[in-house]
């Protein structure tokens, strides 16, 4: 069975989605990721979806769920590299993913995670979200 690899980078977990997401794969990822967060005591999750070209409402909801679950486990989630077509589709589906923080690329995403972890970086996007919890 195919699986999406979850890489550990210091305090963060790095997930790169490079295959077409189908529902079962998404559920597996959700399971694996939550397990890994609690195992590794990670404080940040970076999900790279730059090669993801097709989304549906389920995948959109899954992204939101993963972010919410990570937050409960005390890890910040940043989704990076969303394609224009994917963004438009999600908006048209009415999913604005309010709890998810986003960045243009992995670099920017890492910076965002580090800032939120250090507790400073007032200019960081969605900083208020991070502090509220």
């Amino acid at each position: 069975m195919e699986k999406i690899p979850i890489l550990r980078m210091g305090e963060f977990l790095l997930v790169t989605i490079q295959v077409d997401m189908h529902d079962r794969l998404a559920m597996t990822l959700q399971d694996d990721l939550t397990k890994r967060i609690s195992e590794t005591n990670a404080h940040g999750v970076l999900i790279d979806i730059s090669t993801l070209e097709i989304v549906d409402s389920f995948i959109g909801r899954m992204l939101g769920n993963i972010a919410a679950m990570s937050r409960v486990l005390d890890a910040r989630t940043v989704v990076v590299g969303m394609q224009p077509a994917v963004a438009i589709t999600l908006v048209e589906l009415g999913m604005s993913l309010p709890g998810v923080r986003t960045a243009l690329n992995v670099d920017a995403g890492m910076k965002l995670l580090r800032e939120s972890l250090n507790g400073h970086g007032e200019n960081g996007q969605g900083q208020s979200d991070g502090r509220r919890l």
């Binding site: 989704v79 969303m82 994917v86 963004a87 438009i88 690329n105």
Partner: protein
């Protein structure tokens, strides 16, 4: 009954083909008074159009009488479509284009009168047939003319759509999208796509949407703006809406549109200052004057 109808229809056709030359010269003279636009069309071109028209008209009436919808009239209709199209391009008005067909009435009536002067009933019959036929063709010409004009308008609309959505780079990592004109669904789609693609291409973290040139903002337009902002946020870029005029601010509040999640600024320069701050840049005015004054002191 059927034979009389046949005779009648072929009657008009044969009258036209017998008097071809006479009709042509009279027609050209007729047009000379009514709608000659020698500035727009050459004499020779008009003449060849007219003689082709009469030839095809004689053939078609000979075959199918006054049934303009029948297939015998296909070549004639094609000719009229071509003529209307070229007239629309050349700058003729709808009236001038229609007169091309209507001005043939008098020459044909003259021909009918000459041919059937001894039989008033037949003459009236042919007159009616000719009127019906030419009215049909005239209306067809006007239709074709309008259609080609509409095609031109449609094409220009599409070109305008392409032209009206420039995404400009203001600074490293800062894009601006000055919107001018009314926003509808089709245009917003283009705007949204070009902005998001530019964000990816230039790796920009802040995008400013300037709506100074948008005359009115209603719920639909606001919805479109919110969608664009949300899509940009999903990709990891911040959007600022600038150029909100007092009138528009009032409308937005009266309509009950929630723009609380969107950063809005009154002017593009305010938005740019904010974008600069967000990107971590600062502007400093070099204080040369002060230093000079101090030196002088």
């Amino acid at each position: 009954m059927a034979t009389t109808l046949n005779q009648k229809t072929s009657g008009l056709g044969s009258i036209i083909s017998r008097h071809k030359e006479q009709i042509l010269s009279e027609w050209l003279r007729e047009m000379g008074g009514a709608a000659r636009r020698s500035d727009l069309i050459k004499e020779s071109e008009l003449q060849s159009q007219c003689s082709r028209f009469i030839g095809l008209l004689a053939d078609a009436t000979g075959q199918a009488g006054t049934m303009v919808q029948s297939s015998a009239y296909d070549p004639l209709r094609d000719l009229l479509t071509d003529i209307s199209k070229s007239r629309a391009v050349q700058g003729f008005t709808a009236r001038e284009t229609a007169v091309f067909v209507f001005s043939i009435k008098r020459p044909i009536f003259t021909a009918i009168r000459e041919e059937l002067s001894k039989d008033p009933t037949a003459m009236a019959e042919e007159m009616w047939n000719a009127t019906e036929l030419l009215d049909g063709l005239g209306l067809y010409t006007t239709d074709a003319y309008l259609k080609s004009r509409e095609e031109t308008i449609h094409r220009q609309q599409e070109e305008m759509l392409e032209l009206s959505t420039p995404v400009v780079k203001l600074w490293e990592g800062i894009l601006a999208l000055p919107l001018i004109g009314t926003l509808d669904s089709a245009r917003t789609q283009v705007v949204m796509e070009s902005l998001l693609e530019a964000i990816v291409r230039t790796n920009s973290q802040v995008a400013i949407i300037d709506i100074t040139g948008v005359p009115t903002v209603d719920t639909v337009v606001a919805q479109h703006l919110i969608k664009t902002v949300t899509a940009a946020r999903l990709m990891g870029a911040d959007c600022i809406i600038s150029g909100v005029r007092p009138q528009i601010a009032q409308t937005i509040v009266h309509l009950g549109i929630n723009l609380l999640d969107v950063t809005t600024k009154a002017t593009l320069s305010d938005a740019f200052a904010l974008a600069i701050k967000k990107s971590g840049f600062t502007f400093v005015r070099p204080e040369k004057k002060k230093n000079k004054e101090q030196e002088e002191d």
